[in-house]
């Protein structure tokens, strides 16, 4: 097994170097040597970690949760690594660059879900669950239907979120290496499959931790450089930005992105409760030893993420002045009349503006590392939903051999990798922060209500959870498809049937209502059993007695 892994890793590395050479051969003038060097160092280091992790990943528990031996601080940093995605780094900086204040609205929405997760879900998840959040929803309900529902919710969110990451990575590598967009997307897909399939959660966690540290160091440096140019005065930075930006003073006020009240409230619901329904985030609470470490994780993660979002705001405004307003328009593509590589590249060009070629190389490599870390976490969550929830618990009768279950998750990893590549290419032209918002809408409408009610509401029945969950999932999907992003921008069908980009304000209450209604009208035997078993679940949820302990490595 190990020999096979090693030879595969060597092969992959060789293929990567070949790809680098190819780019150098065709577009040598555009090749960014420091970026390429740093990128290869990162890839080599993470493949080394994957090799190390592969030797320690024997059981299903190792594969899904790194044996439960991650500390709170490590896990918090890894959560931050998972959450500070390309959509956050490139997308939000790009949004601040494009719209000013409105970018901050997204940052705040992405952040305020975290305290709610801490108060309502994190320790409860740790005490009740094992590998995936479906372990919690299916705790006292009927396994099969609830597992299938949760797995579908997970997979939908994972695929959408993956699309956003793939688009960001494709654009970035296209510019950085001069490679074709399609080739870049395939490269990312191949690497994430390697990390996840061989290294499991342990490798994924360490890729996320390293990336979080690199990203925070890079963005801190960039923000300090920006502020130094304006004498560390926000007033001077903002004044300079409003002079350069075509929207002028309007960038200091909310309004451009969320123009009507319903959209604003709906966006708020999607971002806040969506975070609490992201499968790759929920999964991270099973990697720590106990509830105490789970809480610490959220504290560390919230601090790092909050700090990072303040930096994206500074960087966005910095990009307005130093990239958009750069002398000689060096970052401007006059053929398309946009920023070179579109708005999502604002952060990358800012790196060049404040730190020159070498720092541009560093930030490009970090941005790429960011994408690899996030897609690995997503892929692992998607593969777990398929192997643990669908294969092992919903469709297999009797006990499943652990080795077989791990093999299924590896096959699922490859399948998700292929799907991510295909979708990544199809969605090339979308603003990636919007695609993430769509993923959040589904997470908030399908995953969160069922999870929340299964922990807190005694009278929840299997029927209520399943029908309510599907009402949330389907209404979110339908409303998104009929909305402006898919109906108008992607399908080109003209004016949208549903005028809201974020339909969470309708789909989330609808899901809760359906869960309530179909539970209280359920008079079956199974319903009574679900209600009877609540007390035992609640005691374990409150105390952690009987929950999975940690395994030392």
């Amino acid at each position: 097994m190990i020999g096979k892994v090693l030879s595969l890793l060597t092969l992959a590395t060789a293929a990567l170097f070949a790809a680098g050479d190819m780019a150098g051969g065709t577009k040598a003038d555009e090749l960014n040597v420091p970026a390429v060097v740093m990128f290869f160092i990162f890839v080599a280091a993470t493949l080394g970690i994957t090799y190390w992790a592969a030797k320690r990943t024997k059981s299903a528990k190792d594969f899904y949760t790194a044996g439960g031996g991650i500390t709170g601080v490590q896990n918090g940093t890894a959560i931050a690594g998972d959450y500070m995605s390309a959509a956050s780094f490139l997308g939000i900086t790009g949004m601040v660059y494009l719209k000013g204040y409105d970018g901050l609205i997204f940052s705040i929405g992405f952040l305020v879900g975290w305290p709610i997760i801490l108060f309502m879900l994190s320790e409860q998840l740790r005490n009740l669950g094992k590998y995936t959040f479906a372990d919690v929803t299916a705790y006292r309900l009927k396994q099969k239907p609830v597992r299938i529902l949760s797995a579908l919710g997970s997979i939908s969110v994972v695929i959408l979120y993956l699309i956003a990451q793939m688009v960001g990575s494709g654009k970035l590598i296209e510019i950085l290496f001069g490679l074709d967009y399609e080739f870049a997307v395939i490269l990312v897909g191949a690497l994430m499959v390697l990390y996840v399939a061989f290294g499991g959660m342990l490798a994924t966690t360490w890729v996320q931790i390293i990336k979080a540290v690199l990203l925070l160091a890079g963005t801190t440096f960039m923000s300090i450089m920006v502020m130094a140019k304006f004498g560390f005065s926000f007033e001077e930075l903002f004044t300079a930005a409003t002079k350069v930006h075509p929207l002028g003073d309007a960038i200091m006020t909310p309004g451009g992105l969320v123009s009507d009240p319903i959209s604003a409230i709906s966006l708020g619901i999607a971002l806040m409760f969506g975070t609490a329904g992201l499968p790759h985030i929920l999964m991270r609470f099973f990697t720590v030893a106990d509830a105490k470490e789970a809480r610490k994780s959220v504290f560390v993660a919230t601090g790092l993420i909050g700090y990072f979002y303040v930096l994206t705001f500074i960087m966005g405004f910095g990009a307005i002045v130093l990239v958009l307003g750069a002398e000689g328009n060096i970052y401007w593509d006059t053929a398309t009349n946009t920023l070179k590589g579109m708005n999502n590249m604002a952060a990358v060009w800012l790196a060049h503006a404040v730190g020159g070629d070498y720092f541009l190389g560093f930030i490009s490599a970090v941005a790429f590392a960011t994408i690899l870390a996030v897609v690995s976490g997503l892929t692992l969550a998607g593969a777990s939903a398929i192997s643990h929830d669908l294969y092992a618990n919903a469709f297999s009768t009797g006990n499943v051999d652990e080795k077989k279950e791990i093999r299924v998750s590896k096959i699922a990893t490859i399948g998700i990798g292929i799907a991510a590549i295909i979708f990544g290419i199809a969605f090339e032209k979308q603003n990636i922060a919007f695609v993430v918002a769509l993923a959040f809408t589904i997470a908030a409408s399908a995953n969160f209500p069922v999870l929340f009610m299964s922990i807190y509401w005694k009278k929840l029945t299997t029927r209520g959870a399943v029908l309510g969950g599907y009402v949330g999932l389907i209404s979110a999907l339908v409303l998104v498809i009929l909305g402006p992003v898919v109906w108008t921008e992607i399908l080109g069908n003209g004016a949208a049937i549903v005028p809201y980009k974020f339909p969470a304000v309708f789909s989330v209450p609808l899901a809760f209502l359906a869960i309530w209604f179909f539970s209280i009208t359920d008079k079956s035997e199974d319903a009574q059993r679900c209600i009877d078993e609540f007390d035992a679940q609640d005691v374990r949820c409150q105390t952690g007695i009987g929950s999975e302990g940690a395994v030392a490595h």
Binding site: Y101, L104, I105, S107, I108, G109, L111, V112, W114, P115, I116, L118, F119, M120, E123, F234, E235, F238, T239, T242, D249, M252, T253, P254, G255, V258, D260, P261, I262, S263, A264, I265, L267, G268, M272, K292, R295, K296, V298, F299, T302, G303, G306, Y309, V310, F313, D532, D535, A536, D538, V539, R540, Q542, T543, G544, I545, G546
Partner: protein
């Protein structure tokens, strides 16, 4: 865990104290966070110009310090919860577990 064990734990006064204190605390903090965030969202929805008002006459609008303050507030809330939960509540939980062990003997 059997139904009998669950019943036994549920009747432990320390367990009841832990659960009631912790849920009350968690719900209070949740509601505070929701109020703060949705107040902000409602301003964006119905009165964006309020957040666009100038701070002390310059170009900086009051929406900017308010936005940053919400981020810091969210972090502070997690700190407050973790401190009490990992201290007071976990101590109570340890006592509950000790009681249980005694009763098992």
């Amino acid at each position: 865990m059997t139904h009998e064990q669950a019943e036994q734990i549920k009747h432990n006064p320390k367990y009841q104290e832990l659960v009631s204190k912790r849920s009350k605390f968690a719900w209070t903090l949740t509601i505070i966070m929701l109020v703060v965030y949705y107040a902000f969202i409602l301003f964006i929805a119905f009165s964006p110009e309020t957040l666009g008002e100038s701070m002390s006459g310059g170009i900086t609008t009051i929406g900017i310090p308010i936005g940053i303050a919400i981020i810091i507030f969210a972090f502070a809330m997690t700190g407050i919860y973790v401190k009490r939960a990992n201290g007071e509540f976990d101590d109570l939980l340890r006592e509950v577990k000790k009681d249980l062990e005694k009763e098992m003997k």
